[in-house]
Amino acid sequence: MTKIIPLGLLWLSLLVAAPSLMAAEISVKDGESIQGAVNKAETGDVILVYPGTYKESVYVDKDGITIRGVVQDGEWPVMEGEGKRNDAILYSGNDFTVEWLTITHYKGNAIMGQAGNNFVIRYNRVIDTGVYGIFPQFGKNGLIEYNVLSGIEDAAIYVGMCDNVDVRHNEVFDNVAGIEIENTRHALVENNYAHDNTAGLLVFITPGLPIKTTFDVILRNNFVVNNNTANFGAPGSIVSKVPAGIGIVVMAADDVVVEGNIVSGNKTAGIVVTDLAFITDISSDPESEPNPDRMVFLDNLMFDNGADPVADVKALMLTQFSRSGPDILANLGSAQEPDNCIINRERYTSFGVKKWSECERKDTADITTMRIPGGAPNEVVTTENRTKLLYQGICAGCHAYNMRMIGPPTLTVQALYRNDPQGIADYIAAPHKVRTDYPAMPPQGHLSPDLRREVAEFMLNVTK
């Protein structure tokens, strides 16, 4: 019985695979509402947002929707939060794309995903939004590219609890954290420009989250420059505990490759590798493995880091007879162990890498993306298959085709109501007791008359 859902969805995915067949374009002009267009849109549709100011929060709980700004003569569509709206774009649907928008002054995030696989977030400008700029969470397979983000009091781009994400060609500046990869596996962070943040790139495990690991992350060919902005993170937030002046922080993550980056002018340290003790006053989580393991540091260009380190780092460096901070700081316990490796270590001022081994691999040229070829498989829900989902999700819990369950077999119901879907629709709104040897059926009055009728028709046509 459970097989029916995947089958139905398979059929749908065929439709979705050829969206051009059904895709419509819906235009939104200044003074109109983007949400209004989303409400009308169906899977595969593209919503074109013309230049203008849009003062709204938009949520997308459908699959296969694209929101595309139209930039004309340098005029952008602007989503304006006025410091009082929560998030600009909130999506949960799969196959969601958002591009060509300017987003500013929201209290929460500019673009936030909660689940939703195969997301694409690109060509957006995010200025001074509250907490995060771009924040996909619980998503599999995503692309974040060509976005420019600034003035954000936590992470500008925050990939949290995701799998298979590429983050490339973005510029992040004047934020607390530039790009953060947290409790995420298989991420490629490439060709980004992270400057003038408190810290540039962060690869983290945060304890206390339901998905516990971060591993297989490549930081490649990024500019990570002058990240010395005083920390203006909200009190209590995790990033508020990160000292200013760090190019790259790797905390507790495993299998992180750092290659081809230009890391310079970060006043505390170029790269810090550390365990969970780095973040203080946080409730401990025995299920979070605290150690950073198997770092792979390939060739990077690093200079002018550590010119004016925070006190702790200065004290540490004094033990090495150096008054300036390091390019690489492998802080504490396992960060200094030989399961980590580095090549050409003599080029950098460093602390704690003495025991690191020599890397066998010299580059990662063979890896061009962390995304899944063909995308993540999805269960796509559209208006066409939702009646089936309703039947499966509610009615089939108690009615099997030819077997007694809590309710009588569907075959019995079909025989009783042969040409009378309305009879079923009426019965289920307020079921009365029919059979003495069955319990009462729970009322479905919260379904609209239309929905009851739809599901009734579906029930009469069930064939297995």
């Binding site: 206390g208 946080i282 939702r386 729970p442």
Partner: protein
Amino acid sequence: MQRRLRPLLLWVIGMALPLAADAEWRLSDICPAGFHSRDGGCYLQSFYSGYASLQESGVGGLKTGMPPLREGFTAQQIDLGRLLFFDPLLSVDGDMACSSCHQPARGFTDGLAGSVGRHGEAMHRSAPTLWNVGFLRELFWDARAKSLEEQMKGPLFSQEEMANTPAQLLKSLQDNANYEELFKQAFNDEPLSLGQVYTALAAFQSSLVSLGSRYDLYANGFHEVLTQPEIEGMNVFRSFVARCAECHTPPAFTNQQIAVIGTPEPEGAALDPGVQAITGDASQRGGFRVPTLRNIELTAPYMHSGRFKTLRETVAFYTGGRGHAVPKGEHLSLHWHIWEPDLTDHELDLLVAFLKTLTDQSFMPVLPAKVPSGLTPVATQILTH
């Protein structure tokens, strides 16, 4: 004469004793609402059966698979658990059942800030709902039990609660001919054991599934079933300002993690150290497992201490300021998502409206009119449908 009568008399008396197995006691061989029979076990069929979740974590967004459920119990085991759950025979005094504190009519809670213990004294924590309890990895407010079987030894054998002993519990069931017979039906004629009692109660509790609320219809594509204020409330809930969904994560509306959020105790009560009392870890002082919010409308009062009487007060806690209710002189390592969201009164109202869309009792089990012990079943008065 005398000699011949004796056995006969004994036989007659035996017949007359209430302990004799009663022909009407037969366990159902049909899986409960929402469950399909497969390979002799009962397996859930729900809206969420077809969805995956990242790293099989059971957390995500609207269309995400649930965490793994304890399922595969037989229909008979579940049905036996149902009878045991409401039967005060399980308590030493024969006057308290699981359902005394987990009442179906109150979302399987008791409507009290602290449940009432064996001698009428108030306990200091509130009884959690049992809806969807089979999806939880760890049980109790402080997550101290790792399975339903481990959990139930708490109430069964605690002096404050049902105050039974394992030996006494086993004997009272063995002495009851109805139960003797029913356990045989549920467990292939094996001799009655405590392990079977635990299995049956776990089986019944795991069948208490609530995934058919109006919210669930919305999540699965029926957007028209929620009103505009309810949708707005959902958006506040999952916004990164209120951040409710970061901990009360769909589809279970809990991420099953421990969080220190610093809720107040009742007037005059000492701080409940929560998880710290179990692990000894000071950073977990005041930590509690994030509770589910499904059927939250039915389970007032709220929080571990039952300090808040209404949902409105409860949600207002989150905008009262980080640490505002932490007693002076206490240091708690408050969770980073507890912050200053500055929610407006209107947003708090919207949140409450949304929380009420999470109500669904359509799989309410049949509440037994009588139980095998012949005692009066507890809290079976109200039927919702």
